[in-house]
């Protein structure tokens, strides 16, 4: 009883934080004119004030505007990566489970891809393909496809033996129908849990890439880039460094809480917790 109530609070906090960042990234710009690149040279490194709520950076750019634009980058990297990686990964997992002669080969390649430590692999891919938004999403997608492929493949193999699936086959359901009506619905809980953690990890990796200078480059307002730029000024202008750090930490914290909550909900339905799956592979 108490445990149930305790679980309810963090879910609200997690969802609330994520909703807050969605608001900052997409709703706020509708009402307020935000420009992450506009410079006010006279106002360089000015502390938080009524005019600049979060202060300005070394070029006199508004930190608030840059953080809002950075939220957009983070959320979009997370969302696109997750959607693409899930779509491709699920397809590979299904093919692996259904087309026997291809399955073995596909899953071996997946094993190989999975052996690469996530962030390192993404960094190398971005270095090879170039440091743009699309390249980063592509690199992260390649990194996370195996995660989804593995889960799907495992569940497909398990479900093929399940009574109701064998029944469906025996009454003459076509393979596509079995997949769409009987297999996929059972995959959804574990895939949603996985998706939250892949999204969080993708955002962390993008920020890390920007921070070490291997991802988006200045003047793009990626949070990682902002932290890296702010480090030089930490003794004179804490706000340039602290606000992007808080932004990253809070968004990921929110996503993790949300993921934990979802995984609690679907627990016992065969879903692995995020900690066991996503974190081991990644970042």
């Amino acid at each position: 009883m108490l445990k149930k109530r305790l679980r309810k609070i963090p879910s609200g906090v997690g969802a609330g934080i994520v909703a807050f960042w969605l608001f900052v990234a997409y709703i706020l710009p509708i009402f307020v004119d935000l420009d992450p690149l506009a410079t006010f040279p006279v106002e360089r490194l000015s502390p938080p004030s009524a005019e600049f709520l979060l202060g300005t950076d070394q070029f006199g750019r508004s930190m608030l505007d840059r953080i809002a634009a950075g939220a957009r980058i983070s959320l979009e990297v997370g969302a696109f990566t997750t959607i693409l990686a899930a779509a491709i990964g699920i397809t590979i997992g299904l093919i692996g489970g259904y087309v026997k002669y291809l399955g073995g080969l596909l899953m071996r390649v997946t094993d190989g891809l999975m052996a690469f430590p996530g962030a390192l692999f993404a960094i190398v891919l971005v270095a090879v393909f170039g440091q743009g938004f699309l390249q980063i999403v592509f690199a992260l997608t390649v990194t996370f496809v195996p995660t989804f492929a593995r889960i799907t493949y495992g569940e497909v193999l398990a479900l093929q033996g399940a009574g109701y699936v064998r029944n469906a086959v025996s009454v003459g359901c076509t393979t596509p129908r079995v997949i769409v009506r009987h297999i996929l619905p059972n995959l959804i809980p574990s895939l949603i849990v996985q998706a939250t953690f892949v999204c969080a990890t993708a955002i962390i990796v993008e920020a890390s890439l920007g921070f070490i200078g291997a991802g988006l480059a200045p003047p793009d307002p990626s949070w990682g880039v902002m932290v890296s730029e702010g480090q030089a000024f930490m003794r004179v202008a804490w706000w340039v460094l602290v606000f992007p750090c808080l932004a990253i930490a809070s968004l990921i914290f929110g996503l993790c809480l949300l993921g934990d909550k979802i995984s609690d909900r679907v627990e016992g339905r065969g879903a692995k917790t995020g900690a066991e799956t996503a974190e081991g592979v990644v970042s």
Binding site: D111, A214, I248
Partner: protein, 317 residues
């Protein structure tokens, strides 16, 4: 029993071979994905197409894909990872020089992580659902949520800017004394160790909770064993398996984290090598880094499985 474990180890190693081969192949294939090859880079900006072609054939880059792959593979087996496009050293030498700080940092951080996570996880499992357990849980989520480079910056702000306890950045090499070297790594190792601890403690906590509520612990309590003996001899031994594999699996996050944390604290390790290679598009260095770290990771996973099998009599092999 001993020979069983030996046979199991051999089986695990054999099973790892195809994975390593695929890793090697994928790493090699990266060269083919690069826009513009090494020849264009080496020939310089104002080289004529003929000159570029000359460099290309001298490097063997005009040979068929499979032939190049085999040449590279033969080189690998004799320990030759190729030449850097930019640095004066070979890839192998460059990696060796930069490996020390990274390995020191990773080991130090992992020691901190295990020393922190195992006791916390056992106690949280013992008092599951209580106040202490909830505090550990918050730490676990926060530790995963806040990336190590942000923790690192927080530590610099707190310990060197505000309190002036530690020098903010830099690394003392091992040959100048172990203590000095470790001293220069205290902050980076804490930054990295906290994230690792957060990951490990989640696993320890949930397995220990199961063990504490199992019948044989109840039986041991009823027989009147002291609490200390029960925890140390029975609970930890029965529940340490998943923690061991968590420590092994977390090597991937450890290396990734070390690379980024090195940049925060300006440590001249593999992370620096990586970022400078990214900047100059030094693909051989990138390949070497990726290959060496990944193969080390695969081997470590095998080792983890073997250790786990040795510790836990329940693992069948």
């Amino acid at each position: 029993m001993g020979s069983n474990i030996f046979a199991y180890s051999i089986r695990r190693i054999v099973a790892g071979v195809p994975v390593v081969l695929i890793v090697v192949f994928l790493t090699f294939a990266l060269t083919y994905l690069t826009p513009g090859d090494a020849a264009v880079y080496l020939a310089g900006d104002d080289a004529t197409p003929e000159q570029v072609q000359e460099v290309r054939s001298s490097l063997g880059l005009d040979r068929p894909f499979l032939e190049q792959f085999l040449t590279w593979l033969v080189g690998l087996f004799s320990g030759n990872l190729g030449n850097s496009l930019v640095l004066p050293q070979t890839v192998g030498e460059a990696l060796l020089i930069r490996a020390e700080p990274t390995i020191m940092l990773a080991l130090f951080a992992q020691v901190i992580a295990v020393a922190l996570a195992v006791p916390l996880g056992v106690l949280a499992g013992k008092f599951y659902g209580g106040r202490f357990d909830r505090a550990v849980n918050v730490f676990a989520v926060a530790g995963i949520a806040v990336p190590p480079f942000v923790v690192g910056i927080g530590l610099i702000l707190l310990l060197s800017v505000v309190l002036a306890l530690f020098p903010a950045t830099g690394y003392v090499r091992l040959e100048d004394g172990l203590l000095g070297s470790l001293g220069s790594l205290v902050m980076p190792a804490i930054a990295l160790g906290l994230a690792q601890a957060a990951f490990i403690v989640r696993i320890t906590r949930s397995t220990m909770k199961e063990v504490f509520s199992s019948d044989f612990i109840l039986a041991a309590t009823m027989r009147g064993f002291s609490e200390k003996r029960i925890v140390l001899k029975h609970v930890v031994r029965a529940g340490i398996g998943p923690t061991i594999s968590a420590i092994g699996v977390s090597f991937a996050t450890l290396i990734n984290g070390a690379i980024v944390v090195e940049i925060v604290f300006n440590i001249p390790g593999l992370g620096r090598l990586l970022t400078s290679a990214v900047e100059s598009r030094d693909v051989p260095i990138l390949q070497g880094l990726l290959l060496v770290i990944t193969v080390a990771y695969v081997l470590l996973n095998i080792l983890t499985d073997v250790v786990q099998a040795a510790v836990n009599p329940k693992v069948s092999f």
